[in-house]
Symmetry: C2
Subunit: 190 residues, 2 copies
Amino acid sequence: MKELERYILEHGEALGEDILKVDAFLNHQIDPMFMMELAKDLKEHFKDKNINKIVTIETSGIAPSVFLGYLLNVPVVYFKKSTSKILKDALYQTKIHSFTKDIDYQISCSKKYLNENDHVLLIDDFMANGEACLGAIDLIKQANATVEGIGIVIEKAFQDGRAKVEAQGYQVYAQARISSLHDGEITFCE
Amino acid sequence: MKELERYILEHGEALGEDILKVDAFLNHQIDPMFMMELAKDLKEHFKDKNINKIVTIETSGIAPSVFLGYLLNVPVVYFKKSTSKILKDALYQTKIHSFTKDIDYQISCSKKYLNENDHVLLIDDFMANGEACLGAIDLIKQANATVEGIGIVIEKAFQDGRAKVEAQGYQVYAQARISSLHDGEITFCE
């Protein structure tokens, strides 16, 4: 998506060799008009899929997901990173390792909101080593729901996330694919 | 907002005397069509205000806020509850006590995304004891930005949040005002 590449070049910051900061429009400040454009592109890409639910992971996947949910007229479920004392339902849970933050964290989903009748589109802001995506797929499998597609806003294509997810038999659509952040310069895949 | 009251009665669960769970459409599963309706109501309520930014707190304020940002064509900034190692900017920070979770947590905002030129609408999903709202107001004040309005989806009107916020000179608009959760029954203010 060329417009996203322009946004990343204009507003993104490459920090070191593997961190891209997009706090200006996605991860801290959100540009809602642009989120709608991302959602339109995702809708177009997955137009042949029969989707009845969008799932994403707290927090940064929520903004593009809710616009896509609006366009598709389907609910959005976000997997939670912490369980509050008011989330007492039976849960699907799995552990994810974040290389960015160098911590393990748990994600969970109430069994009420995901089941074997769901055909879900999994959306996330970033894919790097694929850990978050694989964790989300694990929860979807626990629920016996069907993954109809995986949509990622920004893929760090120089990391092995896509390969790991594809090895499990899933296709990945990334709206922007970064081939390198070397020397603070953001380069996209051809 | 009568439609919100209907939603709460249909999908909400009163847990004990002071906890209302709205995971079915706002806090875990999100109904995007209804979020747009909430946003339209907020837009109408604040139509005489000159707003150039919406601020909210991670996580549950994000969904209604991004639709409102879309309708008003302004950016949305969400205050973060944890600081990742990639958030290295100069920050505004303050501490909030959550009575629901019985913990203190910090919220922060990069100085890049809030400043003295901002006229902000503060949006959050719940107001109970007002601690989150007062913390957000503190960050907005640190940035020398102006609070143009405060919009809350659900107010627990039997707690003292509104009184504390109004005592600081701010008005609060709540889309639904709950007067009691006694015996598992949800009652709204007249």
